[in-house]
Structure formats: structure tokens, C-alpha cells
Symmetry: C2
Subunit: 581 residues, 2 copies
């Protein structure tokens, strides 16, 4: 029987409950957004007692289907003020599912002077453990300490000092198969929400669990899983070899790699920060590559970066991190970027929000573009909790506001991802229209992807049809996120057909492709509805400069008409009640 673990921090009380009927058909992002929409008043303060911190596993977590163990982390975001779902890999989803836990809801608020706690789940017993001694622990030291205490095999969901400080750019770390806390539900400040509840970490111990999963048609389920896994092994060789950082060169070649606070789409120092260079360094220094972050992943895009003395630095050096901490800040030193990524992981900060915030600080003249030492020292100030550190730790928009800067690449309070919206116009539409703020994973437009009509191709430099492409991908992403699956398995209609088949094999319902599409739409509608009640309209403009300054080298501005995006939103999802001006 699948259950919810509900922890009330006002009463310091844990209860387990069977999945309520109204939540029963939901999982992953659909479940976190459903719980937030149902239980959290949209107008509440994100750090207050009415907000909830929710974790949900996917529909196929714990099964043999590849990459199905992601967790969704949800709540009202202190960064955007709207609903947030941020998902992460690592081992937590797998382990939670083995304990039969579908969701964790942390609600209420302990007294202001209360100490930190750990929430420990092991199937038989759920414990709330005082943990004041772990205050200010970085996530690495924390993970090591907790594995010493509770065993090497536990899964950990944790915050660093940034979450304790309730900084809006604080993320939630999840440990990977090596026990390193560098799988991140990074975006939207969900670490600050967990920090407001005074939970330093959730420990998942599944060693005594022998969970049996039920299948309507186990054979068919295994057949589909195997076939998808084989396909991924064959198709994802480059991703396995280089990790997501392989995109650095591509994005530079296509001219949408954020450079100098989104001034240019190509970076002079490209050769020093490319995925190929990173791969060579990793090989030379003996770092591990091509590792999975969770059980049952045949892709294995994780790359372990060592410093020049061969010491482990991070395994979270992804495309977004390198681009936003690197080219966006004109920093062309991969060791420095890796150091910054490590600091972010350890402090518990979103590397993306930090890259953009540092770019804005450079814009404000606090340090120069390209100043890697200055950027590292700025990150250290966040940890120290100085006023300047707290400004940066609250992200790009707050940094821009405090320093009176208008060149701030953010939408709905959240920094843009590593795709300049002039060079990748479909991604621009996603930034503007996603309920999640400027979040690339919410509708990830890259060359070659199509919408539901797979015969239609798009030129990302041209405005035509980008609204349709983005919206279709947003719907697909919402569906896949709701299944708790890594979208690297394929963000396309074919995959949705496969997932419908998979759903039938698992649950024996007459699930069709259309049902999966409907699920994606429903999730987006629910999220936009929450946002509107929180005072956030569904469609925002990009910052002025994207419509005014031509992007180098393409000399193109962002020019997808606002009205067309609005019309597409109305057509594709049921959004009403907001102005179209």
C-alpha cells in the first residue's frame, strides 16, 4: 500500500497516511503540484507556516524502467512567489519507493529558536531527530557524517548553509550512487523552504525493505523497459562520454551560449571550457566518467571532476553550470568553474541562479567580467552571511534590484537558463510562459526537437511557430516530470506513446497517448491557476534588452510576438482570466 509521510513541524509529529483518493492518480510533479494546490493557500509567505515542502516519487519509481527514480520537490517558491516543482536524480526516489513512500509532506513551522532536525525514514519507524550539531554543515561534510552514523547505503535529501539561511537561491541536494550530494533540485529556492521548516536532512534507509511492486502485466513492463534501455545505450553514447557539457560547443556554434551577462552568444574562451576539454582533463586526472546518478540508468551522464592535485571536486559540472558560471561571467578556467560549482553544491545553492547573479554583480561593477577569484570570493561571502553575500544568495533579480541594474536576465524572479532567448527563441517562449519561471527543463527547446507534429521543423533563430514548439514541449515535460522520469530518455511524442504502453502494463488501465498529453496539460493548468491566485499572471515578457539589443553574432533580437504566445497558451492549455495586452 502506497503512503504519504506527513511531518508537522509545529507539533513535531509524524504521521503516515494512505494515499488520499484525490491524490491517488498523481505522482511526481503532478502530485507535488496537486498537494500544493490543494493544501497551500496561494497567498501565503513561502517561508511561513502555511507553505509546505513536498517530495513525491514518480509513477514507476523502484521499477526496472530506466531513469524512473527522480524525485519532484515542490512548494511555493521564495524565488518566484509562485508554485515550484524542481526535480532531481540520485538514489532518494528509488529508496523511497522501496519503503512504499509516495510522498513526504512537511508542514507547519517550529518555533523561531528551535534547533535543526533530521527526518529519518526506514520503513518500520519514522523519526524526528534533533540535530543542532549539524548546523552550518556543508552538504559534503553532512553526507559523510550521516553515512557514518546511519550506514553507507542511506539516501540523503539535504540542505546546506544556504537553505538554513533561507536564501531564495538555496537548492535541495540529493546523494548519488557514490554518496555525493550533487544531484540537485536546485531551482526555485526549495532549500529555503526546507530550511524554514528547520529540517537539515531527510535520511532514507531501505536496507530492511523488501518491497514487492505490483504489475498488471509484468512481462510486458519488462519488455518495454528493456527495449527502452537498449535504445538509450545505443543512442546516448555522446551524452555518456561527455555528460551534458557536450552542449557547450554546440551551443556556442549555434550562437546562443550566454556570454558576458547575456551580451553575446559565443565565447572567446570556448576551447577552455568545452565538454571535450573537460573530458580530456577528467581522463588525464583520473576522474570517473559515464556514471549513472541512480539505479537503473543506462545513460550515465555523470562526470567526476578532480582538481589539479587529483582530489575530488564535484560530479555536478553540467552544461548549465559551466555556461552560467563560466562564459556568462567570461570565466574561461574550468578548474575555477569546478571550484565554484563545488562551493555551490556544498553551500546548497543553485549553480544556475548563482552564475546569473554573479553576472549581474559584474554588470554592477562589483567585480570585473572574467574575475574568477572575485567570483569565488563572492560565493564565499554568501556562506559568511554578509549583506552582500545574502544579496547574491537571493539570486539575480534581487541582486539587480539592490544595485539598480536593469540588465537582469530573469523572468518571474528566476534567472534564465543557459540558452540566450534571441538565439534560441523557442526557449525564450518557455521562459516567458512556464509556470516555473525561466526554467529550461519546463519545456526544453533544442535543435531537432519537435512538437506533437513531428513533421514540422523549426529554425530557432526565427520567430515562426516557436510558441507552438515551446508549449508542446512544456506539455510533454509536465507529463514526463509527473512520471518521475529523466527527460533525457526522450522528449518527444514517440516516448509519450511508449509511456502510455508502460502505464497500461503497470496499472492495467486503458491509458492512451491522449491521456498522457492530457496529464501534461492538466499539470500546467493547475500550476498556472495557483500562480494566478498568488498574483502571478501566466505570461510575462522577457527583459527589455532581449527585444532591443541584437545578439552577437546573429544580430537578432527576441521577436516572437507576445500575442501569438498568448494565443497558443489559450489554444493548448485552458488558461483564462488574464489580460493579453
Amino acid at each position: 500500500m502506497e503512503k504519504i509521510v506527513r511531518l508537522n513541524m509545529t507539533k513535531r509529529e509524524i504521521i503516515e497516511q494512505a494515499m488520499p483518493r484525490t491524490y491517488r492518480n498523481f505522482a511526481g510533479r503532478a502530485l507535488t503540484s496537486k498537494i500544493i494546490s490543494t493544501e497551500v493557500p496561494a497567498s501565503c509567505h513561502p517561508l511561513g507556516q502555511k507553505n509546505k515542502f513536498v517530495i513525491a516519487t514518480g509513477m514507476f519509481a523502484g521499477t526496472a524502467f530506466p531513469c524512473s527514480g527522480r524525485i519532484s520537490v515542490g512548494g511555493k517558491s521564495p524565488l518566484t512567489g509562485g508554485i515550484k516543482e524542481s526535480n532531481a536524480g540520485g538514489t532518494a526516489g528509488w529508496k523511497l519507493s522501496r519503503l512504499g513512500i509516495k510522498a513526504i509532506i512537511i508542514e507547519g513551522l517550529p518555533p523561531k529558536d528551535e534547533d535543526l532536525f533530521l527526518l529519518k525514514l526506514n520503513g518500520d519507524k519514522n523519526e524526528l531527530i534533533k540535530a543542532g550539531e549539524l548546523r552550518r554543515f556543508g552538504t559534503y561534510k553532512l553526507a559523510k557524517e550521516l553515512r557514518n552514523r546511519y550506514g553507507e547505503n542511506i539516501g540523503i535529501i539535504a540542505i546546506g548553509p544556504a537553505g538554513e539561511m533561507m536564501l531564495s537561491a538555496a537548492g535541495v541536494a540529493v546523494t548519488d550512487l557514490e554518496g555525493n550530494p550533487c544531484d540537485y533540485a536546485g531551482r526555485g529556492g526549495m532549500g529555503a523552504v526546507l530550511g524554514s521548516k528547520k529540517i537539515k536532512a531527510i535520511i532514507i534507509d531501505d536496507k530492511n525493505s523488501e518491497k514487492e511492486f505490483m504489475f498488471h502485466d509484468r512481462k510486458e513492463f519488462i519488455r518495454i523497459s528493456k527495449s527502452v534501455a537498449e535504445k538509450l545505450i545505443g543512442e546516448k553514447k555522446i551524452l555518456r562520454k561527455y555528460g551534458t557539457s557536450v552542449e557547450i560547443n554546440e551551443s556556442n556554434a549555434l550562437g546562443y551560449l550566454p556570454t558576458k551577462n547575456f551580451r553575446k552568444g559565443q565565447f572567446d574562451g570556448i576551447d577552455k571550457i568545452s565538454g571535450e576539454t573537460m573530458h580530456a582533463i577528467i581522463q588525464q586526472r583520473g576522474g570517473m566518467h559515464s556514471a549513472p546518478c541512480m539505479p537503473g540508468c543506462p545513460i550515465g551522464c555523470k562526470q567526476t571532476y578532480l582538481d589539479n592535485k587529483g582530489k575530488y571536486l564535484t560530479s555536478g559540472l553540467e552544461y548549465e553550470t559551466i555556461a552560467l558560471l563560466g562564459s556568462n561571467c567570461c570565466i574561461d578556467d574550468l578548474d575555477a568553474i569546478a571550484k565554484m560549482a563545488r562551493l555551490c553544491d556544498d553551500y546548497g545553492l543553485d549553480t544556475m541562479e548563482m552564475g546569473v547573479a554573479i553576472g549581474v554583480a559584474m554588470e554592477a561593477g562589483l567585480l570585473s567580467f572574467g574575475d574568477a577569484d572575485g567570483a569565488i570570493s563572492l560565493l564565499e561571502k554568501i556562506h559568511d552571511g554578509t549583506p552582500l553575500g545574502r544579496i547574491i544568495g537571493n539570486g539575480a533579480e534581487v541582486t539587480g534590484k539592490v544595485f539598480g541594474i536593469q540588465r537582469v536576465p530573469a523572468v518571474k524572479g528566476q534567472s534564465l537558463a543557459a540558452y540566450d532567448p534571441r538565439g534560441n527563441k523557442g526557449m525564450g517562449v518557455t521562459y516567458m510562459s512556464s509556470p516555473m519561471g525561466a526554467d529550461h527543463t519546463a519545456g526544453c527547446v533544442i535543435p531537432g526537437r519537435t512538437g506533437f507534429d513531428t513533421t514540422k521543423q523549426y529554425n530557432l533563430l526565427e520567430p515562426y511557430g516557436q510558441e507552438e514548439l515551446s508549449l508542446d514541449l512544456q506539455i510533454m515535460a509536465a507529463a514526463i516530470d509527473s512520471m518521475g522520469i529523466c527527460f533525457f530518455i526522450g522528449l518527444n511524442p514517440d516516448m509519450l506513446h511508449t509511456l502510455a504502453d508502460l502505464h497500461r502494463a503497470r496499472y492495467g488501465l486503458n491509458t492512451t497517448f491522449d491521456d498522457i498529453v492530457k496529464l501534461g496539460k492538466k499539470v500546467l493548468e493547475m500550476e498556472h491557476r495557483f500562480n494566478l491566485a498568488a498574483g502571478i499572471v501566466p505570461l510575462h515578457h522577457l527583459p527589455d534588452f532581449f527585444e532591443e539589443e541584437p545578439l552577437i553574432p546573429h544580430q537578432t533580437v527576441f521577436n516572437v510576438p507576445f500575442k501569438e504566445i498568448f494565443k497558443a497558451m489559450r489554444k493548448k492549455i485552458n488558461i483564462s482570466n488574464f489580460s493579453s495586452k
Copy 2:
């Protein structure tokens, strides 16, 4: 012929134009909001080249009608992100009207490294004068310098260092009859907008002007003006004697005086900060009281506060300033409060936003409640431009966000005024539903005021009917603001009847009471429409704690139902297209 002076800072070019037909029936707030709605894209960055800084005089500026010389200052607000009109007394409105200038529009943006400028208007010649030497001048030193240069009789509209620094709480100072820069269009950060245009001051020299005003029926106009003036002389004796600070005792007695970051409605140190105490100090030290801020004001609510050595400190020590810098911060020392007010005036900051921001900083533990020296030193940090100073200078909401504080008394990015919304529930409705953010002047509910139905009385501690009362007063305020008249002449239906008569006598149109009401509604609708296009819905909740923590001493929470306010908005003004959840 009435005209607009249009200054384009991109081209550094001044043109004069006749009032365009579409603007012709507008003045004051209606005119600034009309120009902003017409010429400024709602989505633009408030500090960017597309925003405009607009000043408009009222419908009767320069005439004998009492208190008719206020100016409206408008633009897209860096504080709220929405449309803003903030109005001020002083001599500028009178002098502009004598030059035949109905409005000033400052648009475009000079290069980033461009120096500061003065805009000098004298009827024959409009000049843009380089003024780099005035950088960082406080408004007092600036006013003195400009009067030395250009004559004692000039009117000045200026910013202090806070405006140059583009802080979101920077206001716009206007000189009074004594030449002191302490009449303020304080709210909404309009000083930052003028700072972004690199205009340090606007100088209005009307000494060569012999403007003749046209009247449809001069005799009748004079008769009405005289009768209103006589009535004000008789009725406003207490306001004349004590200034607005007389409200301190009233508000404390009624239990809605903000105390300790809006924890309580009564202050232990009340006797030390009351208007009566202030009056005694002023008398004892020989400060001037009962002075008008503009020509033709028979009320004269201005009080000049000297320090304990008899030296001039400020004539801007108003109710809001004393309450928010004083009781709200638990500071019971009137000399210290006056010193803080002086610093705000001199730096060019909104005293209200500062009082609330300092209260939030106290909440965050940066200094203790009651620490006057600490509060003064915090204000000095703003002037120094330290990161902490810039945080505070960006207002209460940013301060709360940076320090992870949820107890932030602000709505739509703007701090509340000095009326706790649990003790004055009608004012709470104004905070929630005004297009201006938490602005008391936008619909000022105080005991005894009624809506359009003057037979209906309201208990401000009870929720019943507050939505109607607030909305009616918002409509009246929008109408009176659009005439450029100080609402101290009377915020009630009788006064709107008088203003209709006055309008007929001036312009010879068949203006009725209904027309004046329609004007108020139209202005509100226009402003909400702009806001919605900027992504801001018309109705916001108050911060959670007002609905959760009972106010001492009344033990009441804010409980006017959101749905009722929404319904009243729909009924009273034509607001559609937003969710009611």
C-alpha cells in the same frame, strides 16, 4: 495655451508641444497615468529607456482655489513594478502653471557614463544644463546652491543621492515656500526613475511670467474658492496647530498605531512622540508652525522642527513619518526621529518606506527595536552605498527577502502606511486593492469618513462594508488627485459636488458630480489595466500575519473577506480578467 515640455535624454533635446487632443481633458494623476498608459510599455524596466518620468499639474493650479497647486509625479515604479502616481505640495505646481506648463515628460536614457543635468524652465527658454558638480548633493545643500545660482524665488523638483543611486525607495523632493526641499512625492521610487534619466533637479523660474488664466465664470469661481477657504480656516484649526502629527495620539487611542514592526497598535512611549509633545517642543525651541507649503493654502499644516540647539532640522515631520520611524521601530525620541526624517529628506528617501524597512531590519536582528542610534547609522549606510545600505534603501520587501524574514508589512512591493490594517480594516482594503500598492493616500480610511452613501457609518474594527468604504474613498481620491488638490480640503461627496461646480465655473462644461465620480473610476481602471499588462493583478492579499496574529490591544485579525473585496471592485470599477480565488 497649455503645453507639455518633453525632454528626450537619449537625444538631450527639449521640445514644447501643445497638449495633444487625447490628453486635453486630463490633469494631475489622471494625466500622469494617461501618459504612462499611452506611452510606456507596461513590461518595460522601470530604470530603462522605455520608462518615462512624468510631472503634471492639476486642473486649477495657479488659481485662487485653495490647495490646488499639488503636482503629480508618475511613471512605472521600480518599487512595485506597476504604475505609480505620487503627489506633492510645495511651490512647483503653482510656478509651472504660471509658465503654462501642464506636464513635463522626461523620456529616453543618456549614456551610462553621462553626467548629471539640470532642467531649467523659465517660460522663454528651456535649458538642459550639465551639472556633474552637483553629484551626491543632499537636497538641502542642493536647494541652497540652486537658489544662490538662479534666485531665491525658483521652485525646485529634485532628487538626493538616493535617486542618483537608483534606490527603489528614492523620492522626489519639492521646495516649499521657504525653499526647503521637504515636500515629497515620496512613494514608489519615482526618485530612482528621475535618477535613471540623470536629472538632478528641475528648476522652475516664473519671475518673468504673467500668465493670465481663463475662466468661464470668474466671479463664480472666486465665490466658490472663497467659500471653501473660509470653511477650511474655520474647520482645520487643529490640523493647523499640530500638523498631521495630531493623529499620533488619535491613532494610538484607536489602537492602530504601528508599533514594533506592526506587532501592536499602541505604543508605550506615546507621550514622547505625540503631536501635542511635538507642538510643545516646537513652541519651546521657536520653530515655525502652521505654515502653508504652497501659495493659497488656508490650512497651513506645516510644522518646523528645530534641534535642541535651535537649529532647523525639518519641516517634514508628519504623522506617517513619526509613526513609522518612531513607534514602529519602538523609538520614542522625537529628536532622533526628526534627525532620521532630516536624513531621509536630505538623501532623498521616502520616510515611510524607510521606517518600515528599518522595522524589518530590526525583525531580522540587525539592530534592536528602540535603537535610535543604530537606526540613524543604518540610514547613513544608505548614503554610503554599502550593500547593507542599498538593501535598506530598496525598501521593506527587498530587506525582508534578503534577510529571509516573513514578517514584512508590504503589499505589491510597497510598505504599508501608518495604519495597522487589523485596527483599521478599511485601510487594509485600500492596501490590498489600490493600483498604487499599500498607499494610504490612495483611499484614506479614517474614523468618520464615509463612502458615497453618507448615512452609512463604519466601525473600522469590524469587517462589514469596509470594501465599499475603501473603494468609494479610492474613487474620490483618484478624482481629487486628478485635480491636483490636497485631499485635506475634504475627502467626501460634498466636496466632489463643490469641485463639479468649480469645474463648470472654470471651463464652462456641464460638469456634474457624476462626471467627477466617473473620472475617479476611469483613473483607477486605467491604472489597474496598466498593472495587469505589467503582470500585476488588481487585488492582493495582506501578508499572512495580519490574518493570523491578533493585534494588541484589540485582539482582532484582518478579516474582510477577499471575495467581498473582489466583488466590490467588480461592482464599483470595471475590472475584469483576473482570478477571484
